[in-house]
Symmetry: C2
Subunit: 314 residues, 2 copies
Amino acid sequence: MVALWSQGRIIMNDIKAKWIAADWGTTHMRAWAIGEEDNVLAFRESNEGMKDLQQNEFEPVLLRLIESWLDEAKVTTVMACGMVGAKQGWVETPYLKTPCVPIDNNQLTTANTLDTRIRVHLVPGVMQNDPADIMRGEETQIAGFINIKHDFKGVVCLPGTHAKWVNINEGQISNFKTFMTGELFGVISNHTLIRHSTSIKGWNQNSFEEGVHEGFNNPGLIASNLFSLRAESIVNNLDRDQARSSLSGLLLGVELNGAQSYWKDSNVTLIGSELLSNNYQLGLKILGGQSELFSLETATLSGLSSSYRGLISG
Amino acid sequence: MVALWSQGRIIMNDIKAKWIAADWGTTHMRAWAIGEEDNVLAFRESNEGMKDLQQNEFEPVLLRLIESWLDEAKVTTVMACGMVGAKQGWVETPYLKTPCVPIDNNQLTTANTLDTRIRVHLVPGVMQNDPADIMRGEETQIAGFINIKHDFKGVVCLPGTHAKWVNINEGQISNFKTFMTGELFGVISNHTLIRHSTSIKGWNQNSFEEGVHEGFNNPGLIASNLFSLRAESIVNNLDRDQARSSLSGLLLGVELNGAQSYWKDSNVTLIGSELLSNNYQLGLKILGGQSELFSLETATLSGLSSSYRGLISG
């Protein structure tokens, strides 16, 4: 056995997966080889997200990532969640409707594959009729979280490009609300005049915190406060890291104003990337809210794992 | 004399201008040939805006537009305003600082030109220290408006990519606030997932009005209400014209929430393109505000004209 250090994990190059977990989103694909004890044997990722793939390209992309994990003697199950199940994805999986359990194993969709060594099951997204809302991928993380915190009743927030605030009760998603704050941060940073005033990566804690307060207190001024970042950089030479952090804080503050009903009386569980979850936790703390973090990877794998176990026992 | 119909005006091809007015913004350049009676003899425009030009390209672009209006026997004055005077423009003109008159003829900047038939004067922009804010071009329209409404005291709003709300008193700009609502509308329409759900041009009055109310009442929900447009189109087949009009209404409603101190107790004068000014007027009316329209072209020409007259009499 040869151990290779890759992606922060030890990869064995003769690993054979019992089954494979895949989180296939708009911009990224992540795959895990899972062993007999539900343990992670290996992890690989690719930036071949759903948005860049034609329908017939999903299978080859998947195989390129996972082929070495396949045991030629058997069919390996792949459990996949995320935008891969959208209309523009591999196979469209119909949404579950709230209120609902996050994953219903009777509603999985199977992708047609040419390669007989794999069987690919897609987890459906969840939709809400009124007000209209949709998620794909987060339902799996919610399922995984509930799987571990069985009697959880309360609010989960999943920060991301499209942050989800979710009310959970008796194992079900009662209702949820999406804020496209992350996507706004991206287009404002990259496509408006503010791009001339912000850094790509830098950070200033004070500017972030002031932004959260201002965004929360005066959400109606957001289009003015954004322009101020540009004006401050011209008039007062505002530092680019400060501008970027203010932008992040302002947009989060506006979201936390709109999402008050979710967090004012709850201890929110944050499930997202470490960076974003830390920002949300700090933002909430500044405004008097309480939160705790739950690992995104744990949630995803626990969700896909419970679905896999339901499938083979069913 | 041969009369040509162009740009909605009768153009005489042997017109000679007494002086020339130019409004040179980020994306467009507009030039007017002005006659002895301060009357408009001709108009031309180009999409060669400041953002697409290097410093040495401004003079050739200007000459291409206005050369036929020049009298070879004399030097013709060109009065220009807008982003042409920005750091990235032709010549940087230092800002006036609020409180200030909108145009101070002692602060004009003269561009160096190779062609001796023209003398080009640039009108400075106006800045505000605290809170930091800037304008270039709108000061000329404000000067032109005050020129016609001598004793005006109150609020002027100039809708546009970067809308300006301006307090005017005793012929001066007391203070102002910029909202980059128009630029946000552009990037959200063109660069976020909402682009899949909106039309390019269509309009639905009801959706606009509902959007104004919702944006005004719940500015903190803006990132959620924007995502809802996408979700509504997936879940409930929201019409694309409705989505576009809702987007416009939502963003304007948020601005009108933030700009309340400017319009709650004032009859606002709107100076902008007809389309945008009509939207602002309707938005204000829906929320109980009062406004009247003032012609953008009249304001621009009146402003440049007063500066020209000050120059030749000075």
